[in-house]
Subunit: 353 residues, 2 copies
């Protein structure tokens, strides 16, 4: 028999694009895994709705055998609605549904009495806003203060947390610039290349190629294997090694960042970050203390020169205080308890339909 920390049952909806946790790329699934395992470790009763090959200490409920990004015979539209309906058909077994799946679960949410919390990991397009707008009185969490839209019932911002143990802090800076993450124009790897060239420092690029055309047009042609290297996707250990060799991380995003795990990871290893001042970047790094906010390549080149002013310990400390898995779990616990209280009031007040 399991002894739980409380009598609440949580249904956690992960996306089914990738396994939870993902084998390599899969940002949303990573957060869901971290949160789920963190809650279970603290004694919460969590049922994870994810692909059948997912790995978890929670109860696993799966309709979809493999992620649709990993098995192209799977039709995303079809497995998505089967995955979601399975959660809602068991809504009565749960005190809270925590949705990390974007907009689709919202359209089922009014058909059950179990409250739902949606973490908005990003607005994939403007076209999805009518769905959020219709269901604006649901409960929402944003992943940064900057990644919010008007009118939604936000209960909190909860920053994504990282496993500190995955990152080895070192006092001694490396000698290469590093840019990593999914290879996509939004992430501005072409700007990182320009900044590195102008700085006269070597650049290592790592990450999953999400946009092949972009990679081939703007990146591959500039990779010379010496000053500009592309090393493919990296494992947790591989990433730690790259960070160890890094002088600074360049995060030259071209659109507002929603959160920016890369920046938190970098600082965890003690590596300062040069980031575009777009979206959440100014929430994640502390400008002038753990890195520099810039508005383009030329400013990035100047910032790279000032990296020695940054205390690598300050970088690590910022992560320990704000961006650990433990902090993320604690903040979600606060949100859950807030919802339980609000729901109790509704029942007492007879508001519940």
């Amino acid at each position: 028999m399991h002894h739980y920390v409380n009598d609440k049952h949580i249904a956690m909806i992960s996306p089914v694009a990738w396994r939870t946790p993902p084998r390599a790329y899969g940002a949303w699934e990573t957060v869901v895994s971290n949160l789920t395992e963190g809650l279970v470790a603290k004694g919460w009763d969590v049922t994870l709705f994810a692909t059948a090959d997912s790995i978890t200490n929670a109860k696993l409920s799966a309709i979809v055998s493999r992620g649709y990004e990993e098995d192209k015979s799977v039709d995303p539209r079809i497995v998505s609605c089967l995955h979601i309906s399975e959660v809602f058909e068991h809504a009565n077994s749960f005190d809270l549904i925590h949705n990390h799946f974007d907009y689709l679960p919202l359209t089922y949410s009014r058909l059950v009495s179990t409250p739902m919390l949606t973490t908005i990991h990003g607005f994939s397009s403007h076209q999805i806003l009518p769905v959020y707008n219709k269901y604006k009185n649901n409960y929402y969490v944003s992943i940064s203060d900057s990644d919010r839209v008007e009118g939604l019932n936000y209960l909190a911002t909860v920053y994504n947390g990282i496993k500190l143990s995955d990152f080895t802090y070192t006092d001694i800076p490396g000698d290469t610039l590093l840019a990593y993450g999914r290879i996509h124009p939004d992430k501005g790897f072409h700007l990182a290349i320009d900044a590195a060239k102008k700085s006269g420092l070597p650049l290592v690029i790592a990450g999953y190629i999400q946009d092949k055309h972009y990679f081939e047009e703007k990146i591959a042609s500039k990779v010379d294997g010496e000053n500009i290297k592309y090393v493919g996707t990296v494992s947790v250990e591989g990433r730690d090694k790259l960070l160890k060799q890094a002088y600074a991380v360049l995060h030259m995003n071209t659109i507002p960042e929603r959160f920016g795990l890369v920046m938190a990871e970098s600082m965890a290893a003690g590596v300062p970050v040069v980031a575009m001042d777009l979206g959440s970047c100014r929430e994640v790094i502390s400008d002038g203390r753990t890195g520099f906010l810039v508005n383009g390549v030329d400013e990035a080149v100047k910032a790279i020169k000032k990296i020695p002013e940054i205390s690598r310990q300050a970088c690590r400390k910022r992560v320990e205080e704000k961006f650990t898995l433990e902090t993320m779990v604690k903040n979600y616990e606060k949100v859950y308890n807030k919802i339980f209280k609000l729901e109790e009031k509704k029942i007492q007040g007879g508001v519940r339909a």
Copy 2:
């Protein structure tokens, strides 16, 4: 105040690809419109869930302003789930939900107590079968006996009905062959061209180009404007005129036909049909009496020679008996009443969840 024929409230879910009724192409929306207007004319209380520009004597409930096939700024995935959730959020106002939207509504169906009937207008791919399989105990109608899969709870086959008044019956055959419908390899227009050429008879092709590549590769190159003509999409009046000039209609489908409105329409005008013996064709035409079933081009050529054996009056009569709008409405009324009785039994038996 409206006086209804009974106290039942019907929610009719149309697709939102096109307006209901469609301006030109839109087979499912056509059937929904015909059924809805037929029921309303008989005094049923029907609420039609369709695009906002739809035209109906029923109550219209719309979330989507225009069909996603008519307005490419509309994301089908997003408007579909908003459209469907709107129905289910009002399920308590209805005694029956009649779904013509394919599989998505099934995944909401267990979250409400209102029974749902799904008319399966076609299995768009094998990948959707797991959805039907999960919800196999729902109520289903097939549109032909041949278009069924194992294990679903079918209550009946209800053939699509046509408006007899849209078709002018004439005793005198025309002198061209006619092939019409959506231009797609499934509909075998290339085989119709081969059969016409071998018969030495002129062929007129009409219809919406669904598969541009197919049209350009296999059809356009053979159109000479004389022996093989393509006349584009046609209005109701235009279709009537084409049928008046037709000696026979060629329906050379390459995959099993689900129902085959074209065959019913053709017979309504008194025009015999030469059809491939695949799927429902043998249910719609009476082989040797209202047309001929064939297994390829050569058999089609032989059949074309035998067209004078067919009584044009027998063609019209078959439609009057089996494929009119009135018959379709009457058959759906039977299915509805069957469901109301089954549901009453469930409530009496305490089976209802």
